[in-house]
Amino acid sequence: MAILVKLDDLLHARRMTLTELAERVDITLANLSILKTGKAKAVRFSTLEAICRELDCQPGELLGYDPSAPQSED
């Protein structure tokens, strides 16, 4: 997928674990893991809002676009 999720980098910069973030944003660890590994098909604005709030970042810092990466099927 050409959309990159930079959650790992943000977590590393804030010295926060995925489990800790999951507790703070009230999203299951499994779902956050799907997002972190780039396997998610869609992200709810509410999820984005909660992550940005807890990591004190902008959505643009969390997501990126790589035109050279293979496009998703749909």
Partner: protein, 182 residues
């Protein structure tokens, strides 16, 4: 064996009485249609093998020799319809089971509903020659006609099943989309 079957039925009943009742009724319908199919499958060659005694019995009741072919076709068509009925009930049973498991919106259920729609059409198409032949036999033997009648309700059922298949296909697509949403 019987004890464990009772426990399974009791667990099903506690989870959802309506679905449990539907599964039991459909299980009974499957067993009945399987039994009838087997009976017709055995009866068709049996009539062919014992054609002389069958023809004699038919002649005793005033039936011409060609009535044996009408009898055989009625038995064979009834067998095919019962077999189709078995597959119809089996598909419906599996759909009900998937509802009970909490996962009905899957592509396989859309395919099952479509198959049920085609079975419904096939039963009504096969019902036309069956009805005509049994009517002819009833006229020969001076009996009131009580066989299969063509009904628009059956075709309406097929239409509803085809539409439901589309609904389930769309539901499966939406579910897949939601499953990938974080």
């Amino acid at each position: 064996m019987i004890g464990s079957a009772r426990r399974v039925v009791k667990t099903m009943w506690n989870r959802d009485p309506l679905l449990a009742a539907a599964r039991l009724a459909l299980g009974a319908a499957m067993a009945t249609s399987a039994f009838l199919t087997a009976a017709f499958v055995i009866a068709t060659p049996s009539v062919l093998i014992m054609n002389e005694s069958v023809m004699a019995t038919l002649a005793d009741h005033g039936g011409p020799p060609e009535t044996i072919w009408a009898v055989i076709s009625v038995i064979a068509l009834s067998g095919v319809i019962c077999a189709l009925g078995f597959f119809f009930f089996r598909d419906l049973y599996r759909i009900v089971a998937s509802v009970e498991d909490g996962n009905p919106f899957v592509p396989v259920n859309a395919r099952r509903l479509q198959a049920m729609g085609w079975i419904s059409v096939a039963v009504h198409v096969l019902g036309i020659p069956l009805s005509m032949t049994s009517k002819w036999l009833d006229q020969i033997f001076n009996r009131p006609h009580g066989g299969f009648e063509f009904s628009y309700f059956g075709l309406l059922l097929a239409l509803v099943l085809f539409v439901l298949a589309r609904v389930f296909r769309e539901g499966a697509r939406l579910r897949e989309e939601v499953e990938g949403t974080v």
